[in-house]
């Protein structure tokens, strides 16, 4: 079975590289080894979203039973999104689970992920905290997602007020990353975030 997987990836590889969508939608795949079972994907944050301007990297693992089973994909770039874990980068997307079809390709996966960034599905969340914020306080969600894109994915928009709050919490002796997570998870309420950090 392993030879089908490797042979398929080799052919797909050419397809993604050749495709004009690579230019248009900014998706990319590169090999991590010559076994064709570990790849790195890259997608650009879609325009008119808080992720615009960011570049997100993905870890793609090809199971031996590929393409009859889906590839294992997770974000290695940290991201604030209801369907992606802000801690582990794990993705909740139907086509990576039961809706996978053997006729799908890495290209379709990356395009679907890009579409997921543009249209979240908060009713089927991977990260419950983010999903709750997405539903209850859209504005804070957008600012937070934009801030995370700026910090981790090289996005162009800085959120100065959020950065100030992080600096304040860091002043109390907390690590920057932890301060960011605590503040993001508590709608940037310094008091509740520090309470959470202390407990």
């Amino acid at each position: 079975m392993a030879n089908i997987a490797a042979a398929r990836i080799q052919r797909e590889f050419k397809e993604v590289v050749k495709s004009e969508e690579v230019e248009r939608c900014k998706i990319k795949v590169s090999l991590k080894n010559d076994m064709y079972n570990e790849l790195e994907g890259t997608i650009a944050g879609p325009p008119d979203t808080p992720y615009a301007g960011g570049t997100f990297k993905l870890e793609i693992k090809i199971p031996e039973t590929y393409p009859f089973n889906p590839p294992k994909v997770k974000f290695t770039t940290r991201i604030w999104h209801p369907n992606i874990s802000s801690v582990t980068g794990a993705i909740c997307l139907d086509i990576l689970k039961d809706q996978w079809a053997a006729a799908m390709t890495l290209r379709t996966v990356l395009l679907s992920l890009q579409a997921l960034l543009a249209a979240a599905e908060p009713d089927d969340p991977q990260d419950a905290v983010v999903a709750k914020q997405y539903k209850d306080c859209q504005e804070i969600f957008i600012k937070t997602a934009r801030h995370w894109t700026n910090i981790y994915a090289g996005g162009p928009h800085r959120e100065l007020d959020l950065e100030n709050k992080i600096t304040q919490v860091m002043g109390m002796g907390f690590d920057e990353g932890k301060a960011r997570v605590a503040l993001s998870s508590h709608n940037w309420d310094i008091e509740r975030a520090t309470e959470n950090l202390l407990s």
Partner: protein, 510 residues
């Protein structure tokens, strides 16, 4: 009265075939339902002799008034089938649909599986609109994919290899893939336990692949065997009237007309389970509640285990006592103080009509307390019920030992010519009934835990307390069977079983 009911194998006449019933539990139904049964001459003594389940309904020789089928809240009609019988039964349903709708068996099987084996609903929908039925059942596509390529070669969308046109195969949706890819795909799906739910490999196409297509594409015969075994399992699981016995390595299939949370006992491995959810029988608690309770117990087991240790100190002389019997009425061997194992209170107080020990007293001011106090109160409440649940479960294990002791004592008596086996049979019956009552009692605690406060809960706890008291009395007497008068013991059995029946009748909501 001393005559035990003869063990027997019953046969039931179905409209389509005669199926051997290995069920020996539901003896009652035999009395009230003569027309349906004819007794078989084949006696299978082994089946009964080594039986020692918690639920022994074989109490025909007791003084207890036998409830009629309509009165018994636990009454449930079911049959035990062997694999071949179940297979034949399914095949007959498939054939019936085939001849009715004039379709092939592979299609009929798919339709039945998709529609939960509801033949009537399929026929009804077939009459209204056959095409729509097939589309809704994921058998035919709404729009078939059309191959517009005129070349003699095709590229398989899965392996990307170019093969001759005739090497490509498709099911009703028209999506073409090469034979090797179908084969590999089916093998992997079967390995992952998917059979009747295998769908087309195309993106966004969920058309089901029919059995005959799969079997002809599979190149390895052992995969064909695995497919048929696994799809048979799928069919049984998808059939509302059939259940696999959950017992380890047991292949018996239970058939019941109604999908209810009722007691089923496997005739082969003696496992007793709930027909609806397949876990240990749990009346009067319902399937959802018992699941919640068991999950909770698993989550909180560390704390609870720590607290419900196996030993306690005598409340009077403080000597450490390890419980060695099932009875909660404990007598300290040192100072002879009688006390209740659960509340450590004086047993004298428990002998009276109202047995308070099973009722949890909630703190009435809880709403005004702090979050910590509320959490503590919640834990206290849970532990109260958990301790009682766990205690009965341990008592049941310990009473298993009491039963062994009784059996060996009877053996000794019979050897020494002190009466015959039949004369002492009542002791075994008492032990059996004790197990049954204690088992029901154990399962009243999850029910009470999740009950809303109010009059109904009060009534439930009152009845639970009554049953609790009688069960402990019975347990005390069974453990001291030699010095207990037989009439007294049988009277106690009667009282305990009546209390159990009353509670179930009032609270079994099925």
């Amino acid at each position: 009265m001393n005559q035990s009911a003869p063990p027997q194998l019953m046969c039931r006449q179905f409209e389509f075939q005669k199926i051997k019933m290995t069920d020996t539990v539901d003896m009652k139904s035999q009395n009230s339902d003569d027309s349906d049964y004819d007794e078989s001459d084949n006696m299978d003594e082994d089946d009964e002799d080594d039986y020692c389940g918690y639920y022994d309904n074989d109490t025909d020789d007791l003084d207890i008034d036998k409830p009629k089928k309509s009165d018994d809240p636990e009454y449930f009609e079911f049959d035990l089938l062997h694999l071949e019988d179940a297979e034949r039964l399914l095949n007959e349903e498939v054939e019936a649909l085939c001849s009715k709708l004039k379709i092939d068996p592979s299609l009929a099987k798919m339709l039945l599986q998709v529609h939960g084996w509801n033949k009537e609903s399929i026929i009804e929908r077939h009459i209204i609109d056959h095409g729509k039925l097939l589309i809704d059942s994921k058998i035919k596509p709404a729009v078939k994919y059309k191959d517009t390529c005129f070349s003699n070669y095709r590229t398989c969308p899965v392996c990307y290899l170019t093969v001759q046109k005739d090497q490509m195969h498709s099911i009703s949706c028209g999506h073409q893939f090469c034979k090797e890819c179908w084969d590999s795909f089916f093998q992997i799906q079967i390995q992952q336990g998917i059979t009747t739910g295998i769908e087309c490999m195309e993106k966004d196409c969920n058309i089901l692949v029919p059995e005959d297509f799969i079997c002809s594409a599979l190149s390895k015969p052992d995969f064909r065997d695995r497919y048929s075994t696994r799809s048979f399992t799928d069919h049984i699981e998808g059939h509302p009237q059939l259940r696999f016995c959950p017992g380890p390595n047991c292949s018996v299939i239970v058939r019941a007309k109604e999908n209810k949370a009722k007691k089923v006992e496997c005739g082969q491995c003696k496992t007793i389970f709930c027909f609806k959810c397949g876990i240990d029988y749990h009346c009067p608690t319902d399937c959802g509640t018992i699941k919640k309770w068991l999950t909770k117990c698993a989550d909180d087991s560390e704390t609870a285990n720590y607290i419900s240790a196996n030993t306690k100190d005598c409340p009077k002389c403080h000597v450490c006592i390890e419980k060695n019997g099932g009875c909660n009425h404990v007598q300290c061997t040192k100072c002879k103080h009688d006390f209740c194992w659960m509340c450590l209170g004086d047993w004298k107080a428990h002998g009276s009509e109202y047995y308070e020990c099973s009722r949890y007293k909630e703190n009435p001011n809880i709403a005004n307390e702090s979050a910590h106090a509320q959490a503590r109160e919640a834990l206290k409440k849970y532990l109260f019920y958990f301790e009682r649940w766990e205690n009965h479960s341990k008592s049941l294990e310990l009473e298993e030992q009491t039963l062994l002791k009784i059996t060996s004592r009877i053996q000794d008596k019979v050897m020494n010519n002190a009466g015959t086996w039949i004369d002492w049979q009542y002791l075994l019956d008492a032990a059996g009934l004790l197990r049954k009552c204690r088992y029901s009692l154990q399962y009243t605690y999850p029910y009470a835990y999740f009950m809303e406060k109010g009059a109904r809960k009060q009534l439930f706890e009152y009845q639970q307390a009554q049953l609790e008291a009688e069960v402990e009395n019975l347990s005390w007497k069974v453990e001291r069977a030699e010095i207990t008068d037989r009439g007294d013991l049988e009277n106690q059995m009667d009282v305990a079983e009546k209390r159990r029946q009353t509670l179930l009748k009032d609270f079994l909501e099925i």
